[in-house]
């Protein structure tokens, strides 16, 4: 790496999480890594074209160049408005988004071929839509960077934001099914020509709300209740927030049939509570509540039981409930260690390959190696986010960064675990990779917040003179190193 001397100058202390005293903005590292991500995406697009169409088509230019332009814009915005942000976050997301786009394009080609085979009209390519959504998401990302001068301002509006999040989360449950239900989950607001999943945004708003409340009332929750089994348990009257989160999660599960979001919300709040209070007792109470919730859900709801039975033996009801997960396993097993190669597998055999099951497509065409690479990219992204939480000085920032990072982690675990049959399947998208506008936009907003926090964590405390124009700076540095 051309910037190794920078890292070498400030070696991380043992343990790896403590913030290194950084003065460099490291924006050039980011640019270089983004260029690498763009390069990998372009090569992957070419591979897909070569093996599927036997020729390079205009799709390559259309998708590749738009994608490259979008991330260069994002990079420039970061240079200007989050100058000191962690340089790994945006390139990792760029690569994840790029590979997602490649796979969606690849699945479009499979759909078109299938339509030709069946004599149906060829569907319009979803990759077009995904590129548009990426543009929208990057616009949202840039808007947050530009407009949100200081993330601490969010704490001031936490109750408002929390309320909006709650209402948005509840709307699909209140709407008639015709306006909110897709494939059994009532998590949509469907308007003519336009649909959104408000839950994706509620997630972020609720994390902001809980971070603020937990910071404000932190002393309350750390007040020791009973001391038991060597741990401090909270007093019963302080259980309010966790019970609220629990009821919220149960509500999502019951009224919207969305196990994934339910699990995501509850565990995120639980982990934030644990970080805020440093008391393991909360975790025990939380997991107890989780167990109780799922026990009753299993007893009372057919769809939960079906999910569990399908998880235990997907082949028992192969033709119906087990079909999707069986196809996913077949695909990944056919891919094996090295994968079939991009464009050479049959990932379209898995229903919902572009959204919930995109990980199966990765496992099939890129193999265990590709899947492991994607997982490690996510791990670095999440750990970098948690590292931001460690580095930032204020408690609100710490909790917010931790909550946002952990929610990515749990979403990754729930969706990849579901698709690979480690845990029962719940419908969630893979952040940044899956097809879907709401998911993309929400996750880019999440990324923008994280980068803002990272920026203030790494920004030198002493006010400095206004730095030289960053773009010119980048160019001279690049020239100097080559």
């Amino acid at each position: 790496m051309s910037v190794s001397h920078v890292a070498g100058a400030f070696p991380s202390p043992p343990g790896g999480f403590a913030p290194a005293p950084l003065q460099s903005t490291r924006r050039n590292t980011e640019l270089l890594l983004i260029l690498a991500a763009i390069g990998i995406t372009l090569v992957s697009l070419m591979l897909v074209e070569a093996s599927q169409e036997q020729a390079l088509t205009w799709d390559l230019a259309k998708y590749g160049l738009t994608y490259a332009a979008l991330f260069l814009v994002a990079h420039l915005a970061v240079r200007r408005f989050a100058t000191y942000a962690d340089p790994l976050l945006l390139p990792i997301v760029a690569l994840l988004n790029g590979l997602g786009l490649v796979l969606i394009h690849r699945l479009d080609l499979a759909d078109a071929e299938n339509a030709r085979f069946m004599g149906n009209p060829i569907p319009s390519p979803d990759a077009n839509q995904q590129v548009l959504w990426t543009a929208l998401a990057i616009a949202g990302f840039v808007a947050v960077l530009v407009l949100l001068h200081d993330y601490r301002l969010l704490a001031r509006y936490s109750y408002t934001l929390g309320l909006i999040g709650l209402v948005a989360l509840a709307i699909p449950a209140l709407l008639p099914s015709s306006l909110s239900e897709v494939n059994g989950a009532k998590i949509w607001i469907r308007l003519p020509g336009f649909s959104i999943q408000p839950g994706e945004f509620s997630k972020i708003l609720l994390i902001i709300f809980f971070a603020s409340v937990l910071v404000a009332k932190r002393d309350l929750f750390t007040t020791a209740g009973k001391h038991f089994l060597g741990m401090d348990f909270p007093r019963a009257r302080d259980l309010g927030p966790i019970l609220a989160a629990w009821i919220l999660s149960i509500g999502v599960m019951v009224f919207e049939k969305d196990l994934g979001t339910s699990l995501l919300l509850f565990t995120t709040v639980l982990v934030m509570l644990y970080i805020a209070t440093e008391r393991v007792g909360w975790l025990l109470i939380g997991f107890g509540l989780l167990a109780v919730g799922f026990f009753f859900a299993y007893q009372m709801f057919g769809h939960v039981r079906v999910r569990v039975q399908t998880w235990l033996d997907p082949f028992a009801d192969y033709a119906n409930t087990g079909y999707q997960i069986s196809q996913s396993l077949f695909g990944m097993a056919t891919g094996g260690v090295g994968g079939t190669g991009l464009g050479s597998g049959r990932p379209a055999q898995v229903p919902f390959a572009k959204t919930d099951f995109i990980v199966a497509a990765i496992g099939e065409e890129l193999g265990l190696i590709g899947l492991a690479a994607i997982l490690l990219l996510f791990l670095v992204l999440i750990v970098r986010g948690l590292r931001t939480a460690l580095a930032v000085r204020d408690s609100f920032g710490k909790l917010l960064a931790a909550g946002l990072s952990f929610t990515l982690a749990i979403q990754l675990f729930v969706v990849v675990g579901g698709v690979t049959k480690l845990i029962p399947l719940t419908g969630l998208t893979t952040p940044f990779v899956s097809y879907g506008g709401s998911s993309l936009l929400a996750n880019y907003l999440l990324l923008a917040l994280l980068m803002k926090i990272s920026h203030s964590a790494r920004e030198p405390v002493l006010p400095r003179k206004k730095p030289a124009p960053p773009i010119a700076d980048a160019q001279t540095e690049m020239m100097g190193r080559e």
């Binding site: 085979f117 056919t334 094996g336 049959r346 492991a372 675990g417």
Partner: protein
């Protein structure tokens, strides 16, 4: 807050490690099982770009992959012979179909590893193909079918629009010479590359109430009716009964511990005397005498005889065969009904052919098989099926006596198609079924072998629901002429 943050980071690493471990389990450790699962159509789709081997019978090609210009390089074709435009339908129960969308059945499925070239016995050649850069090809399957018998059996069944099945076996080896099920279907309709046409054909075939894709010869069981008297007689003879022993000739008999009566066909008595010999009862197929004899023989002896003949055995020819059964037989009444092949007794046509073949082969039961030879793409022999005995199911002298009784039955039985100069040994059956058996046309059966003294062919014929004779149908009038025609074709060819 930093302490818990570090712990959360560790927990996240643990979660990702768990995902990686599980992905390794799926993609490495379990990968082979999942990859080769028959429901995994990815492998099938890949195979379309390779030349699949042939299925043939005595030099006649039953299934072949023809090169095409489409993206899938080969089209699986089931060619019709010039003289027999319907031959793909006649052979469908043997070949099965091979479809991109709907998987495969028949030999296409059970010999898939050889046909698609993935069988380990083809490894050397596959390796050579790989090195030489040639697309790997699949091996060939040579079936035991006698094309003449197969075609005659199909033509006979379809001539009058019968729903039924014919199985013919070579008694000394167990070779399956004919395996026909009607109505049948054209497997070419399912193997095409036009997905819309294929799925239309699939929907139509599945919606057809006559179930043309059901291989009745091996996948369907039927009450054997009077043909089961062969098994009951074998058990009784082994227990010391002789053909001259006398049993009731009454027109009906009350089943033990019940008030239910069971009567002879058309309510007739068995000859003019109050009792009849076994020989006469067998020839006339008198139910009352067999109820008495079956009850005397006992459940254990009957069950043991049935088991020795392969009833209840898991058979694979290598197509999987539905399990035949004599049912639980809880009491004497059930034993009485089972003794005339009713109640819960249910046999596949294949199993009934095996019973005839076992009697023909001096009581030694040969395992039936459909694959004569497996060949590599260059036609050298990879494997040849060696006939395998499943043991002495019936003592030789009992088999000889049974042959004698079956000659009597054949000579008593009516129906067309007797072959001059050839003595057949047979047993007919007319089996009641359904919820209102008196008013439901019976299934008619015919099991036979010939020539009686040096048998070379054994057959089982079933025609469902009385064929064209409705309630008046009998095994002799409906099924027997078909069986005789198939035997005749077999004797001419052999």
């Amino acid at each position: 807050m930093n302490g818990p943050l570090r712990k959360v980071a560790m927990a996240v690493m643990f979660l990702v490690a768990a995902l990686l471990a599980n992905a390794t389990y799926v993609q490495v450790i379990k990968a082979d099982d999942l990859r080769t699962d028959p429901r995994n159509s990815r492998v099938l789709i890949d195979e379309y770009s390779r030349q699949r081997g042939q299925i043939s019978a005595s030099g006649q090609v039953l299934a072949v992959s023809v090169p095409t210009d489409s993206r899938y390089k080969y089209l699986r074709t089931y060619p019709a012979t010039p003289e027999q435009p319907m031959s793909p339908l006649a052979y469908a129960p043997v070949t099965g179909f091979y479809s991109m969308q709907y998987g495969s059945t028949g030999l296409e499925r059970s010999e898939d590893a050889v046909l698609n070239g993935s069988d380990s016995r083809l490894f050397g050649r596959r390796f050579f193909d790989l090195v030489s850069g040639r697309d790997p090809r699949g091996g060939n399957v040579v079936s035991t079918i006698d094309p003449m018998m197969q075609q005659v059996a199909y033509d006979e069944l379809t001539a009058k629009g019968y729903t039924g099945a014919v199985v013919a076996i070579e008694p000394s080896t167990g070779k399956i010479l004919a395996m026909v099920s009607t109505p049948s279907y054209d497997p070419n309709r399912l193997s095409g590359h036009d997905g819309a046409a294929t799925s239309a054909a699939w929907d139509e075939l599945n919606a057809d109430p006559d179930k043309p894709m059901l291989n009745r010869a091996v996948s369907q069981t039927y009450p054997p009716g009077s043909t089961f008297k062969v098994v009951v007689t074998a058990a009784a003879l082994a227990n010391g009964v002789s053909p001259e022993d006398r049993f009731t000739a009454a027109s009906n008999i009350t089943l033990p511990d019940t008030t239910t009566t069971l009567e002879n066909y058309a309510g007739s008595t068995c000859g003019s005397e109050p009792t009849a010999t076994l020989r006469e009862a067998f020839a006339r197929s008198c139910n009352t005498a067999f109820v008495e004899m079956g009850i005397n023989t006992g459940r254990e002896a009957l069950a043991a005889q049935a088991e020795a003949l392969g009833i209840g055995e898991d058979m694979s020819i290598p197509l999987s065969v539905a399990e035949s059964t004599i049912g639980p037989i809880p009491d004497g009444a059930a034993l009485g009904q089972s003794s005339i092949g009713q109640r819960d007794v249910a046999l596949t046509p294949l199993e009934n052919a095996v019973i005839a073949a076992t009697v023909a082969n001096g009581g030694v039961r040969m395992k039936p098989y459909l694959v004569e030879q497996l060949q590599s793409p260059d036609l050298s022999v990879l494997a040849e099926t060696v006939p395998e005995s499943a043991g002495q199911a019936i003592a030789p002298e009992v088999a000889a006596t049974l042959t004698d009784l079956m000659i009597g039955a054949e000579n008593f039985a009516g129906g067309a198609g007797k072959i001059p100069g050839v003595q057949i040994a047979s047993k007919t059956g007319t089996a009641e079924h359904g919820s209102d058996p008196r008013n439901t046309p019976p299934h008619t059966w015919y099991i036979a072998f010939a020539p009686a003294q040096q048998p070379t062919v054994a057959v089982a014929v079933i025609v469902e629901d009385g064929g064209d004779r409705a309630l008046a149908a009998t095994g002799g009038s409906v099924a027997a002429p078909i069986g005789r025609a198939v035997i005749s074709a077999g004797l001419q060819g052999g």
